[in-house]
């Protein structure tokens, strides 16, 4: 059930989505930070190693050019150089005896090593070491402490953590704001719906000029509400119409039965009264059948039974079937049919629709009227027309006359229950088409437009 309290944070989808997004964003930043960290670390290590290697090559060249004594003196000089030279060296002979350099290590194996040396203060300092044989039995070790790298690493890590923290904060705040905004937009709709559910059918969801997803949802809801309003109005109208229109024949029925009960003992008169009563009840039953039929047609499940119908043949058939009866009534029936027109639909229903129109044409026109049945191609469909040159329907009434139980003043006395055109219209709509009441100049032109592709 709807209620007016807003959702708690935990329950709110808006906040949940916003928070998830913010978290993902922060985690991405963290991941990027890690990537930067490792990349920088790797690059600097590489550069450092290169530096060590170059130093070792230089010393090797010096030995080759100048000999061992010179090399030893060179190493001492570099070590004494202090600040500008942060390398440490050690030179060993084949037996492992130190020849030069103060790097406090034992003779290492060939290749790259990570070592730890004690510095002047006794602290353990990590360093990178390259050990090569610059000649047979002459091993040189060059080392460089990782001091620089460590500094860079620390800096990067600090920056990343700061970025992550900022991302978390900004994300949380953004999530709050975003969640609040989403909630507000949605709550506006919920509030409207609550009011409508409470009985105020005329309310509609407010829309913004932006036309975004919320507006689309609101628009769809409003359209649905419009339709519901229409159906309710229809229902209200029908209920009152039905009640109104049924009272008269039922009252008449009662009168006839009463007459038969109380009237003269003359069996013929009594018989006649009962005949009239039976006739009245048949009329009522016809009325209800028509209402049920319209209901069934409007219900919409008929499309499943649709087949291809040759409407040209149908119109010709109806013309042939009704011509005698029309002629007997003092009118004429002619046809103008374009052959080969087909649609998908229910043959019974289309026949009933056309027959209702023909019946109307007979019932509401004077003797001598000419009725014409036409089947013609139209844009995207076919037009089945029943036209007459009778009095027609005034323009103001043409829309009304299709509705339920509407009978124009002129024809109130001519029988019929006012549902004929409504059923025709319902049948047209069930086939994806429509009924158009127009002017035949003179007379009435009832057009059934049906699409060829339903």
């Amino acid at each position: 059930m709807l209620h007016r309290r807003k959702l708690t944070w935990r329950a709110s989808a808006a906040y949940r989505i916003a928070l998830i997004y913010a978290t993902v964003y922060a985690l991405t930043i963290a991941a990027l930070g890690m990537a930067v960290y490792f990349a920088a670390d790797a690059e600097i290590s590489r550069q450092q190693d290169e530096g060590i290697r170059v130093e070792a090559v230089e010393l090797s060249d010096e030995y080759r050019r100048e000999g061992l004594a010179h090399l030893a003196r060179s190493i001492d000089a570099r070590e004494a150089g202090g600040g500008s030279n942060s390398f440490s060296y050690a030179l060993f002979d084949a037996r492992g005896k130190r020849i030069a350099g103060t790097l406090p290590i034992r003779p290492p194996t060939k290749g790259w090593h990570h070592i730890a040396v004690r510095d002047s203060d006794g602290a353990s300092v990590p360093a990178r070491l390259l050990s090569t044989d610059i000649a047979a039995g002459l091993r040189l070790a060059v080392a460089l402490d990782n001091h620089a790298i460590e500094q860079v690493d620390r800096t990067i890590l600090t920056l990343c953590l700061a970025a992550f923290a900022i991302a978390i904060i900004v994300g949380a705040v953004g999530a709050l704001l975003l969640g609040g905004y989403l909630q507000r937009r949605l709550e506006a709709m919920v509030a409207t719906a609550v009011e409508i559910a409470g009985g105020n059918i005329d309310r509609r969801v407010p829309l913004s000029p932006r036309g975004d997803e919320f507006d689309r949802l609101g628009g769809a809801l409003n359209a649905m509400l419009d339709r519901i309003g229409l159906l309710l109005e229809n229902l209200r109208q029908i209920s009152s119409d039905v009640a109104h229109d049924l009272r008269t024949p039922l009252a008449r029925l009662r009168v006839e039965i009463e007459l038969a009960q109380n009237g003269a003992p003359d069996p013929v008169q009594r018989r006649e009264a009962l005949d009239r009563a039976l006739h009245q009840s048949d009329e009522l039953l016809r009325l209800f059948s028509a209402i049920l039929r319209i209901s069934e047609v409007e219900g919409g499940s008929l499309a499943r039974s649709f087949v291809t119908i040759d409407v040209s043949a149908l119109v010709e058939d109806l013309s042939e079937s009704f011509a005698p009866a029309v002629t007997d009534g003092g009118r004429t029936l002619a046809q103008r049919v374009q052959p080969g027109l087909t649609i998908r639909g229910d043959r019974q229903l289309i026949a009933q629709a056309l027959i209702n129109l023909i019946d109307n044409a007979q019932r509401h026109t004077p003797v001598g009227t000419a009725i014409m049945l036409i089947a013609d191609r139209a844009t995207d469909g076919v037009e089945l027309v029943v036209a007459d040159d009778g009095p027609g329907v005034p323009e103001a009434d043409r829309e009304r006359v299709v509705r339920r139980f509407v009978r124009l003043e002129a024809s109130r006395t001519r029988g019929g229950h006012g549902l004929g055109l409504n059923l025709v219209s319902a049948i047209a709509v069930a086939h994806g088409g429509r009924l158009i009441i127009g002017d035949n100049a003179p007379g009435l032109r009832a057009t059934l437009w049906l699409p060829t592709e339903s």
């Binding site: 059948s289 069934e296 499940s301 042939e320 005698p324 009866a325 019974q348 026949a351 027959i355 019946d359």
Partner: protein, 225 residues
């Protein structure tokens, strides 16, 4: 004729029972689908009138099971459901005819008469001959006392039905259903107008009219010459 009536509504049952008995038929009435199923499997009936909505087992089930068991008694199904789909469902279940309540008793009687003594399918005639009129169903020709009469297709169809049911009543509704395929009431009386033209064509130059009008009920072709 022996008629099995399966109807739980007392008013309808009384109408049908009394009416059929007056016409000289023998009526056995049951009120549930189970009873109908049991009886149908036992002694043979000439025709059955079964309401679609029965307690325990509904009418369509009864007919379906009968047909599955090979019981070929003709069935007229009665129902308050007049929808298009309901009619199709009833006939698909195996009923031979379908009548919507409320109905006029003569309508029911005429339809039952049409169902009873239906010739088996292999017996389809190619010629009909009644009261001096001969109809060739293949050539679509009609002759009265040897003289050919030219009929429109619908007039031919009307005459065919009268002749097939010679001696029995064919109601207006039956004509609408069989000749036009309409399962609704077109307010205009096309049956009457076509039939009057049929009459004048057949009776042109003859003294007697083999077609009898029963006001409010339908038409019947006399079988005497």
């Amino acid at each position: 004729m022996r008629v099995l009536l399966a109807e739980d509504d007392d008013d309808t049952a009384r109408l049908v029972d009394q009416g059929l008995v007056e016409l000289g038929h023998q009526v056995v009435r049951v009120e549930t689908g189970d009873a109908a199923l049991r009886l149908g499997g036992g002694e043979p009936f000439d025709v059955a009138v079964i309401d679609r909505m029965l307690p325990e087992l509904d009418g369509t089930e009864v007919v379906q099971r009968w047909r599955a068991a090979g019981i070929s008694t003709p069935v007229l199904m009665l129902t308050a459901l007049g929808g298009i789909m309901d009619r199709v469902a009833g006939l698909e279940a195996g009923a031979d005819d379908y009548l919507v309540k409320p109905f006029a008793f003569p309508e029911l009687a005429a339809r039952l008469a049409a169902l009873m003594r239906r010739p088996p399918i292999s017996d389809s005639p190619t010629r009909l001959a009644v009261a001096g009129i001969e109809m060739d169903l293949i050539k679509r020709e009609v002759r009265r006392d040897g003289r050919e009469i030219h009929l429109q297709p619908r007039e031919f169809a009307l005459l065919e039905q009268l002749m097939r049911h010679a001696g029995k009543v064919v109601t207006r509704t039956m004509f609408l259903e069989i000749v036009w395929g309409f399962h609704f009431d077109p307010q205009t009386n096309i049956v009457e107008s076509h039939l009057s033209r049929l009459r004048s064509k057949i009776n042109d130059g003859f003294d007697s009219d083999p077609i009898q009008t029963l006001r409010g009920i339908g038409y019947r072709m006399r079988t005497d010459e």
